[in-house]
């Protein structure tokens, strides 16, 4: 079976895997007939900044007077900015990321967006999670489609783990073995209640049976309590980072992990809220680096932030910002080539609804993950050819 015909039968494969799961537990060989070219020893960790982080106060164009005239009340003062260049600098709460930047391991992706942007939280995150065009509705997440093209080895605990969120996002749909959990120990305690069966039935029942099978598979592989010297931060995001490190510590592995930090929908009183959240992001990423270094996995991990959209350059009357478009994101990891990518938003040239044009299509970052990080041909998974960016060093 060549790759093209394989792709076309991806949904059939998904269906087959639904019921093959119990087999896979005992006989990985049954699935191993499918050749795997992708290098899933390399891990992807996605960090979702849910609600739409305000990129303009994250990477501040502190030398641009237009920025200060658009935001008389909520702009980050020039003397507060952690300067990275003579025109842009980080929000002060992100100061803990400075060592990564100085190490050239922090890529700053500027103006990430897509054509014909949608300003609804739900629709826009769906566009990001399914890597669809703005007007196209797809069911499966972009990682689900990628894993249909190049399956994750059946010996892995799971294809991906979703930590601290009940929405599977990029791992939604299809036959992906996605495990959602809050905490590894709790997951293992409860997993004994899952049972495999060969039943079929309607779509909802098939879904439940698949989840039961995935639990049995994952629980059979995840084990142990690794003790870290790394101090993980308090709070929900710090715990999610700790859990991510616990999962990475298991030898059987997963290909992707998604952690989520919510609360970025700052329509009102943005400064204090965003400062707190960005502080959690910064301390979380620093702890993640430390944990991965301890495990010897830092060089095999790519961390990428994303969100449904950025926020509007002009502040609103409630000391907040409304839904916008292009946004700044970060990539980090032991093989990331640090520096600026894309282009800062042109604040003198906003659309009729007050938003900047994008400089990087988010699917260029996905193509970079698929083609350059994992070595999967991204065209089928992304529904078209998107250029890669040089932020990953092979």
């Amino acid at each position: 079976m060549n790759r093209r015909s394989f792709l076309h039968s991806a949904s059939a494969l998904a269906a087959a895997r639904t019921f093959a799961t119990p087999l896979a537990v005992f006989g990985p060989a049954a699935v191993a007939a499918v050749p795997t070219h992708a290098d899933y020893r390399k891990l992807l960790i996605l960090v979702e900044l849910k609600g739409g982080n305000d990129g303009l106060n994250t990477l501040v164009p502190y030398a641009d007077p237009t920025y200060y005239s658009l935001r008389p009340k909520i702009a980050v003062a020039r003397d507060q900015v952690v300067q990275l260049s003579d025109s842009a600098g980080l929000h002060p709460a992100l100061a803990p990321l400075l060592p990564l930047w100085n190490d050239k391991r922090l890529a700053v992706l500027q103006g990430v967006g897509y054509p014909d942007p949608n300003l609804s939280h739900f629709r826009s995150i769906e566009i990001w999670d399914t890597a669809s065009k703005s007007e196209v509705y797809l069911q499966d997440g972009w990682l689900t489609r990628a894993f249909a093209v190049e399956p994750v080895p059946a010996s892995y605990a799971a294809d991906g783990v979703i930590i601290g969120s009940s929405e599977l996002g990029p791992l939604a749909g299809g036959g992906t073995r996605a495990i959602a959990l809050a905490d590894t120990e709790q997951f293992l305690r409860r997993a004994r209640l899952a049972q495999t069966s060969n039943g079929g039935g309607n779509k909802a029942l098939a879904h439940i049976l698949k989840v039961e099978g995935d639990i049995v598979q994952a629980a059979g592989h995840l084990s142990g309590r690794t003790v870290f010297a790394t101090q993980f931060p308090q709070g929900a995001f710090g715990n999610a980072i700790r859990t991510a490190c616990q999962i990475v510590a298991n030898p059987s592995g997963v290909a992707a992990i998604r952690v989520t930090l919510s609360g970025f929908d700052t329509h009102a009183n943005q400064p204090a809220t965003q400062a707190r959240l960005l502080g959690e992001v910064a301390s979380g990423l620093v702890a993640l680096q430390a944990g991965l270094v301890e495990l010897g996995k830092w060089d095999d991990t790519l961390v990428l932030t994303y969100a449904e959209f950025g926020r509007r350059p002009k502040e609103n009357q409630n000391n907040g910002t409304d839904h916008g478009t292009a946004n700044v994101h970060f990539a980090t990891g032991g093989r990331v080539a640090g520096g600026f990518y894309g282009a800062a938003p042109d604040l003198r040239n906003l659309s009729s609804d007050g938003n900047p044009a994008y400089a990087i299509d988010f699917r260029n970052t996905y193509a970079t993950v698929l083609d350059k990080w994992w070595g999967i041909d991204s065209r089928d998974a992304l529904g078209g050819r998107f250029a890669t960016l040089p932020f990953v060093v092979a």
Binding site: S120, H121, F187, L193, G199, G201, K203, N239
Partner: protein, 497 residues
């Protein structure tokens, strides 16, 4: 489960022809009550089995209450001004006390609603209130004041089976909503678009039936809709209302917010959108476009009478089709309330069970975002499925020693949204809840109809499961009642309705 096997095409055709005059029978009655209420008991099913389908649906709708049976928590009668203590006018202690008070009241409120669902004689009213809570979403996370969340709940219940136009206007001016979607903060010159966007996308028209321009214009019309912080009531503030001409959905005028809602209600897409959502709630995960169009037209033609829409849906062929049985996933609240009702278990306090449902992904009065709980298959992932199974397992093995995890559960910090803390709170609540109830499996099975123990177990399984079990064994002589009930509850089909 012989009757299900007998539903062969020929017999089925005959059954459809006779459905209008024949008693619906046990299986149909079970289906009707499971879909419109919370896990029915054998006695409830029997009462409906003797009616025709039409009589049954009519009775359900006729008897639906518009208010709760149980009195709300005392704090809802408080009338003090609604003001958040802020750093400039309150000490750290005062702000912490306020925070703790709202957390405590929020918990009382959830327990109250959970209890109402457990005891009500009008389960459809509560299911519809829950439906509208997940439609006209507000969350205490943002609204803060528990008493406003209660007032919204009462408004949703009063209009749950009334007319949608009245409900839309009432929900839009509801104080919790005015806070949740920032309407109260919006003023002319720089209108906040939050409510204008969500009212079109999520409450009425649905994505794709309006433009960004419509949202901006509608946002101007909603300026001035505000909240009197002294009384906690809706207040129109003319000084911040934009009196100018707006163009919304191709109509122009000096519209105010009510005008915009009426323009939206005049669009056929609104009836389509609501009917589609009701279909997914009551009929199947895959709406039939032609049937939806037919019912939406009736709904709109009958002044958006929600009972008319519901009656049409519940009497549609699709609702009764065998292929649509057991195709919907129970929400966590349905699973918890339904199980306790079906097993005749009456908890002393519903509070732990509200926390248990939250641990499965449905925290009443705190939906995750304005789109509400996504529902359907998305209720079930590895995390939530295991939380469900743990609850069912514990309920069916109460005589066993609690697992070690219950004993070592650590104290939870109030007000934290930390996942690990939440997990601990779930474990503690479950332990408290399960310890507070008495479920005697042997007695419960003995109360089911049947001449022999096997027959009674078979009857119990028919009551509990919407489909043939896929894992649980058929009843047999040396299956003790507790093991049998446990196996049935843990069968994957028990998650369905």
């Amino acid at each position: 489960m012989l009757p299900r096997l007998l539903a062969l095409p020929l017999l089925f055709a005959a059954a459809v022809a006779a459905a209008s005059t024949q008693p619906m029978g046990y299986e149909d009655a079970r289906h009707l009550l499971a879909r419109t209420g919370f896990g029915p008991t054998d006695a409830e099913v029997r009462a409906y089995a003797a009616l025709t389908r039409e009589q049954g649906v009519n009775l359900l709708l006729r008897d639906a209450r518009t208010d709760a049976m149980t009195p709300p928590p005392a704090f809802v009668a408080e009338t003090g001004p609604l003001r958040y203590p802020r750093p400039e006018n309150a000490t750290v202690e005062e702000r912490r006390a306020f925070q703790q008070q709202q957390v405590r009241q929020g918990l009382e409120l959830r327990a109250w609603w959970m209890n109402e669902m457990l005891v009500t004689r009008s389960p459809l009213t509560e299911r519809m209130t829950l439906f509208w809570h997940n439609h006209f979403v507000s969350s205490q996370q943002k609204v803060r004041f528990a008493r406003l969340m209660y007032a919204q709940n009462a408004t949703l219940r009063a209009n749950a089976l009334g007319d949608f136009a009245t409900l839309l206007h009432a929900a839009s001016k509801d104080p919790a909503m005015l806070i949740y979607l920032d309407t109260a903060q919006s003023r002319k010159g720089q209108p906040n678009e939050n409510f204008a966007r969500e009212v079109m996308e999520l409450f009425t028209l649905g994505e794709g039936h309006y433009s960004e321009k419509d949202i901006k214009e509608a946002a101007r019309a909603f300026t001035g809709w505000s909240l009197d912080r002294d009384t906690g009531r809706y207040l129109f503030r003319p000084a911040v209302h934009d009196n100018g001409v707006k163009t919304v959905l191709a109509r122009s005028g000096a519209f105010d917010g009510d005008d915009v809602l009426d323009i939206i209600l005049a669009r056929p897409e609104t009836a389509q959108f609501i009917t589609t959502k009701l279909w997914r709630e009551f009929v199947s995960p895959e709406p039939d476009a032609r049937e939806v169009a037919r019912i939406a037209q009736i709904f709109r033609g009958q002044n958006y009478d929600i009972k008319v829409a519901l009656r049409s849906l519940l009497l549609s062929d699709a609702f009764w089709a065998q292929s649509n049985r057991g195709t919907l996933v129970k929400s966590p609240v349905e699973l918890v309330v339904g199980t306790l009702r079906q097993l005749d278990v009456a908890p002393g306090s519903a509070m732990p069970f509200a926390v248990v449902a939250a641990g499965m992904g449905q925290n009443l009065f705190s939906p995750p975002n304005v789109k509400g709980w996504p529902g359907g298959e998305q209720w079930i992932n590895s995390n939530t499925l295991l939380a469900r199974k743990q609850f069912l397992d514990r309920l069916a093995r109460m005589d066993d020693a609690p697992p070690a995890m219950m004993a070592v559960a650590m104290p939870a910090q109030a007000g934290s949204d930390d996942d690990k803390v939440r997990a601990q709170r779930f474990a503690q609540a479950m332990d408290r809840g399960i310890r507070s109830v008495q479920f005697d499996a042997a007695q419960w099975v003995a109360r089911q109809p049947g001449a022999t123990p096997d027959a009674r177990m078979q009857a119990a399984q028919t009551l509990l499961l919407p489909l043939e079990p896929v894992v649980a064994e058929a009843p047999h002589a040396d299956f003790d009642a507790l093991a049998f009930v446990r196996a049935t509850l843990l069968d994957p089909t028990y998650q369905l309705k």
